[in-house]
């Protein structure tokens, strides 16, 4: 096991983790501030990818596609918040889960009706479709490096917004204790609408940037939504810092599990057993991680509620 292999797998984990963060940041604030379980976050991620693929095909520029998709998804999120989500704020979790699960079905069928059941193509921009040599013997996809850069930039931006601005203070206050914040004069409703739209825009960035790595297809949001929920539960619901830590942990553990577990089992068991056991255990590894974190710290790594 060489250093460059470990390094490359770390980069892979980092790239995946940062994209997961873009999805989970919105999710954790919505859940932490308004106590709303929003399963439709994955649909906004899917919508972001579809908008990006369509606009990139029309304009011929990948980056124009990303920019347009962020605006388009934010607009859809605004409409969604005003028309549907506002009605379920006070409701119990089961009602919210049902309502937002219904939204998943509506979005999936709408996308199927508009774009068809086949996956769309979103190509890596040509200037980034070649490998970059980082160290002798370690070349890495230029596009993935760009994704890491964009994810890191947005994470820093989110951190500054939440921890260094008045708006961020309101958001943190709302996440910690909504009623108290309201009593102190924080316009929670408007702040929440803003948070929801920003969360959706971040999801759209993730969808657009991951489009060329995964595939732009119906149902792409559900797979990643589960991982995002795991990430925010690990990090502590309501905490952006926690969702970043949780996302990076999930990204790195998932990648490392897939990369190193099967060969580790190969040393212990017969090849047939190892080839069955390796992928199976690797796929449950992040849930094991979640179980361990919850056992040690039931509130997650960065609890917000006092």
């Amino acid at each position: 096991m060489s250093v460059s292999l470990v390094l490359e797998q770390l980069l892979n984990g980092l790239q995946f983790g940062l994209m997961l963060f873009l999805l989970s940041a919105g999710l954790t604030l919505v859940l932490g501030m308004m106590d709303v379980v929003n399963l439709a976050q994955g649909s906004l991620y899917m919508l972001g990818a579809y908008f990006a693929a369509t606009l990139a095909a029309v304009t011929g520029s990948f980056w124009a596609g990303v920019a347009g998709s962020v605006l388009g998804t934010a607009l859809v999120a605004l409409l969604l918040e005003v028309s549907v989500l506002r009605r379920v704020y006070g409701a119990d979790h089961l009602t919210q889960v049902l309502a937002t699960f219904a939204l998943i079905l509506v979005f999936n069928e709408a996308v199927r009706a508009i774009w068809g059941p086949q996956a769309l193509l979103l190509a890596v921009p040509p200037e980034l479709s070649r490998p970059v040599t980082l160290l002798p013997g370690l070349s890495y996809s230029a596009y993935r490096l760009t994704v890491i850069g964009a994810g890191a930039l947005l994470a820093v931006g989110m951190f500054l917004l939440i921890h260094r601005t008045r708006l961020g203070m309101w958001v943190r206050a709302g996440a910690s204790n909504r009623r108290m914040a309201q009593a102190m004069g924080v316009p929670i409703r408007d702040v929440f609408t803003g948070v929801f739209v920003v969360g959706a825009a971040l999801s759209a960035v993730a969808g657009a940037l991951l489009g060329p790595i995964f595939a732009v297809q119906v149902g792409m949001g559900e797979d990643v939504l589960i991982l995002a929920f795991v990430a925010i539960v690990i990090g502590g619901i309501g905490s952006v810092k926690g969702s970043l830590a949780g996302s990076l942990l999930v990204g790195v553990v998932d990648t490392a599990g897939r990369a190193f577990l099967p060969s580790a089992f190969g040393l212990l068991f017969a090849p047939e057993v190892a080839s069955n056991l390796g992928p199976t255990v690797a796929s449950v590894l992040i849930y094991l991680l979640m179980a361990v974190v919850l056992f040690v710290r039931p509130q997650g790594l960065f609890p917000v509620h006092g």
Binding site: Q9, P117, Q118, A119, S129, Y143, A215, A259, P271, S283
Partner: protein
């Protein structure tokens, strides 16, 4: 009041029975339940099989073995549970005469028993699991394409001929993936440095590609159909591995659906197939030309298989004059061989083909089109490794 209400119901029932009886009496339509993967990452495969099946029906005048045909379609979403529900509905409610269409082996293995135990034939246009080739072979099962191992056996043999001493092999973790690597290893005489199984439907292969780079094998063999293949090959090229390690794939990972999505990086890739665009026989010429004209895209090997499935059913039904009740005769007629897009296809007693396997290479034509070209024959009259265990006559 009550009796008048009941009388009304009886009248309605009687009339509807009468009408349905009349409809049934007019012409005995052959009902085909077509369950396939029509959404998600495997959608292109199911769509190709379905489109080509419909094209063959048009070429045959809308009839199979002289019977008018009604095709009922269902999307299995690559989910065995969804497929089971669809097949259950086909068998119980729609009372189909025949089932076909499934792409993925894990889906087929989930519904096979259900179809066979209802006494209905399943004619496979694609999935060819080893489970149904050996001891569990079934009177009601026929595969017009190949047994899962075959394409990979051909590439294993080719890798041996090319003297690639070491190979890194990968496949999705599902029955056909395990069959694939078993098939490759059966004919590959070099050393397998690593055998990796990934989650079915996985789309990010960065972790696996890093392992390949670290292992420095002479060749990589990867079985990834549909969107999985598109992503694996794109990412393999983006990581700069195309120039460093020879990539070998079966035809599934290098046909028109993958080429359309990956583009130029595919040029030069060698792959195995039982069918090729330029096979010279009248059936294939007509199929390729009309498929391109009708659907505006280059047909894949999946499309050829869908087309052949209709031809096989037609051939079998002609032999029994449209009477699917004569099961043994229907089966025997197909097994004795039918004319397909690959010429005459013969079969083993387990219902799987004995046929030639070719080497193809992806090339760029002067007009910029990227297609597969025939480069030679790897196996002649090749059957599968499991037929000996099949107890059927």
């Amino acid at each position: 009041m009550r009796s008048r209400w009941a009388f009304g119901v009886v009248v309605v029932l009687a009339v509807s029975l009468l009408v349905s009886g009349l409809a049934g009496g007019q012409a005995r339509a052959l009902r085909i339940g077509f369950v396939s993967t029509l959404s998600g990452g495997g959608a292109a495969l199911g769509q190709d099989v379905l489109d080509a099946f419909q094209l063959a029906l048009r070429h045959l005048g809308g009839r199979l073995g002289g019977l008018p045909v009604e095709v009922l379609t269902a999307d299995d979403q690559l989910n065995p549970d969804v497929a089971r529900a669809a097949v259950e509905r086909f068998l119980r409610r729609d009372r189909v005469d025949l089932v076909t269409g499934i792409i993925f082996s894990n889906v087929l293995l989930a519904v096979g028993d259900l179809v066979f135990s209802s006494g209905v034939f399943y004619i496979s246009p694609n999935a060819g699991p080893s489970e149904y080739a050996g001891e569990q072979c079934n009177l009601h099962f026929l595969n017009v394409a190949w047994q899962n191992d075959n394409m990979h056996e051909a590439m294993g043999h080719y890798a041996t001929l090319k003297n690639y001493e070491t190979a890194f092999i990968l496949a999705p973790n599902y029955p056909a993936g395990r069959d694939a690597l078993a098939g490759f290893k059966r004919f590959y005489k070099g050393r397998v440095v690593s055998e990796v199984y990934t989650r079915l439907g996985q789309l990010d292969y960065s972790a696996e590609i890093a392992q390949i780079r670290a292992a420095r094998p002479r060749a990589v063999y990867a079985f990834y159909p549909g969107a999985m293949g598109v992503n694996f090959i794109k990412q393999y090229a983006e990581a700069g591995l195309m120039q460093q390690v020879q990539l070998l794939v079966p035809g599934f990972s290098a046909d028109a659906d993958v080429i359309r999505a990956v583009g130029k990086p595919m040029v030069g890739v060698f792959n195995s197939s039982h069918w090729a665009l330029e096979l010279f026989n009248p059936i294939n010429r007509r199929f390729v030309d009309d498929f391109r004209r009708t659907y505006g895209r280059i047909p894949t090997l999946y499309a050829a298989q869908g087309y052949d499935t209709a031809l096989a059913i037609d051939h079998g039904l002609r032999a029994v004059a449209g009477d699917l009740g004569r099961k043994a005769d229907f089966r025997k007629a197909i097994l004795s061989g039918f004319d397909s897009t690959r010429g005459r296809v013969r079969f083993n007693k387990n219902g799987y083909p004995i046929q030639d396997y070719y080497l193809r290479q992806v090339v760029e034509l002067p007009n910029g089109e990227i297609v597969n070209r025939l480069r030679g024959t790897i196996f002649r009259n090749h059957g599968d490794a499991y037929a000996g265990k099949c107890q059927l006559p």
